[in-house]
């Protein structure tokens, strides 16, 4: 469910960064205010636990595939909303930096999708409300299961919305939704089962851990809901504004650049033309050797001037693009190679 940078536009990525950074700031202040020193190492070590646990798989009978713990809900159950959110966010930061699971720009989206929903939606609105003071085994199983299922429907839904608002992928909304939601229903079942298994084990072995987290802050109930509403509102507004913006012109920066350079958005390969080289470009474009679509040119006499120019430009820019790409790649490779050689030589020269 990690989103990648490649599918995001800067507007959506930046907006979600702002939302996640705001939530991190709020949670940090809240954790600080609680002045519970014990939680500081606990959060760090539980984050590392989550990291390790995600690497251990179990086999799912009958399917030949394997699953593992996601852990958002488990952390919320163990730590409470704010501390769980910070812990999940920190795990995602490490995954983004070391394993490139989701990129740096996508970090905002990923933290929101995988941290916000378990910590601020599932735990306060579903889990804590339904679990009751001393839940029976069946109740614990049912509530945990349903919470996990809801969480793994909300997260992918947010992924779909963010991807669509970015407009890099051409998947239609309904198709993407129909791809994502059923898969994550299955993943949600696995997540629910694992969370139930771990929570029941902990309850048998050390019940006080679960109780302390659940009863930690009955006063914290109201503010969390207020903040939740505020952030949901913010997310909806951001999403709405961003998607409206995105549907017209891919993003703010694009739009600004189009205004500055005076070139159109979707003219892809032609857009980056330097004004001083425009003439040269035109020249190469009408050279017969590089124009593979002669018939069009012949028939194109009737076309309006601009349309014909475009038709002629396309193949040439295509060739120029490919030639340029190959040369640029070669230059890039050589630059790295040369710098490396030099630096190695310098090292040996020094020694």
């Amino acid at each position: 469910m990690h989103m990648a940078d490649a599918l995001l536009s800067p507007a959506v990525g930046g907006g979600m960064w702002a939302v996640s950074a705001g939530t991190i700031a709020y949670c940090s202040a809240k954790v600080r205010r609680e002045l519970d020193d014990r939680k500081v190492p606990l959060m760090g070590v539980l984050g590392a636990f989550l990291f390790a646990a995600q690497m251990i798989n179990f086999s799912i009978p009958g399917t030949g595939s394997s699953g593992h713990l996601g852990g958002g809900l488990l952390l919320a159950i163990l730590l409470g909303p704010s501390a769980a959110f910070l812990t999940i966010a920190s795990v995602l930061v490490v995954q983004a930096l070391f394993f490139a699971d989701g990129g740096l720009l996508a970090l905002g989206c990923n933290i929101f999708n995988m941290g916000f929903f378990p910590a601020f939606v599932l735990f306060p609105l579903f889990y804590r409300r339904w679990i009751g003071p001393d839940p029976s085994r069946a109740r614990l199983t049912a509530v945990t299961m349903i919470s996990a299922l809801i969480g793994l429907q909300l997260g992918p839904f947010a992924v779909v919305l963010e991807t669509l608002a970015s407009g890099i992928s051409s998947l239609p909304f309904t198709t993407f939704l129909l791809l994502m939601q059923p898969i994550h229903l299955a993943i949600g079942v696995v997540e629910g089962l694992v969370t139930v298994a771990v929570v029941s084990f902990v309850r048998e072995a050390r019940p006080e851990i679960l109780l302390s987290a659940l009863e930690a802050r009955p006063i914290g109930n109201r503010p969390v809901r207020h903040v939740l509403l505020a952030f949901l509102l913010l997310a909806v507004i951001t999403g709405g504004v961003v998607s409206a913006f995105a549907s017209k012109n891919p993003d703010g920066l694009e739009w600004a650049i189009a205004r500055v350079t005076g070139s159109a958005q979707l003219a892809g390969p032609q857009r980056g033309l330097h004004r001083t080289l425009a003439l040269l470009q035109e020249k190469t474009a009408i050279l017969p050797d590089y124009n593979f679509r002669k018939p069009v040119e012949k028939g194109g006499a009737a076309l309006p001037e601009k349309g014909r120019a475009d038709q002629n430009l396309l193949p040439a820019t295509g060739i120029a693009g490919i030639v340029g790409t190959l040369i640029t790649l070669l230059l890039v490779f050589l630059s790295g190679f040369f710098l490396k050689k030099r630096s190695v030589r310098k090292v040996y020269g020094l020694n």
Partner: protein
Amino acid sequence: MASIDGALLDFKRLDRLANGDTALHRLDPRAKVLATLFFIVSVVSFGRYELSALIPFFVFPAVLVGLGDLPAGYLARKIALLCPFALAVGMFNPVFDRTVQLHLGPLAVSGGWISCASIVVRAALTVAAALVLVALTGFPAICRAMERLGMPNAFAVQLIFLYRYIFVLTEEGGRASRARDLRSCGNKGQGLGSYGPLLGTLLLRTWMRAERVHMAMLARGFTGSFQTRQQFRFGAAELLYLFGWSALFLALRLHNATQILGSLVTGIFS
């Protein structure tokens, strides 16, 4: 991930690269973090059909790998491993977007293929930038840089704690997992029945470890933040690094260098 130990080794190798001692390693981490963010925003700000203009951006990771004396093959392998994931998402574009955007002689290339290739190139660029940043800076330094740039202290402490214990707990998890593998025959014994208690035990051990760590920290006078004596200096080299790269990214963003180069060359030969 095939084996936890393998993943951990890979993780440690990337982590150790930050111990290098080149001019780039010595730069203030803030300059490196900001330049990388600027790079990523520049790359992803291109329209969906842009492909050629993205290629010159490879100069950033390439130059850093060269100057920072990083193992290019290792990083390239790590990036290549992630490209299939980008491809899996991008593969839908050719199916849904069939408008022809480009003619290469008799070959008509649809917009879907161009945007699919664009997604893969973007993924490679952004992943490369993130990996190079870690390899040149190291995780604790990135955390401190982010803290200096306004990240809340509590979150910075959390990140540094997490980083400290990831190696410990992943090794512990790896041992537990290997013990389970040795005791199970094929897939028997690898199911949820043993997985729950396995994780539960690991969790309880983690919890007890946290209590011990907390007591040790109290004994050493922990007050809520780590005291480090690292000097941060944002000098001329940092300014040059940050503004040099930013200017280059801006120029590459505004002008398609590949296209210019390509038309120059095709112009010369015709």
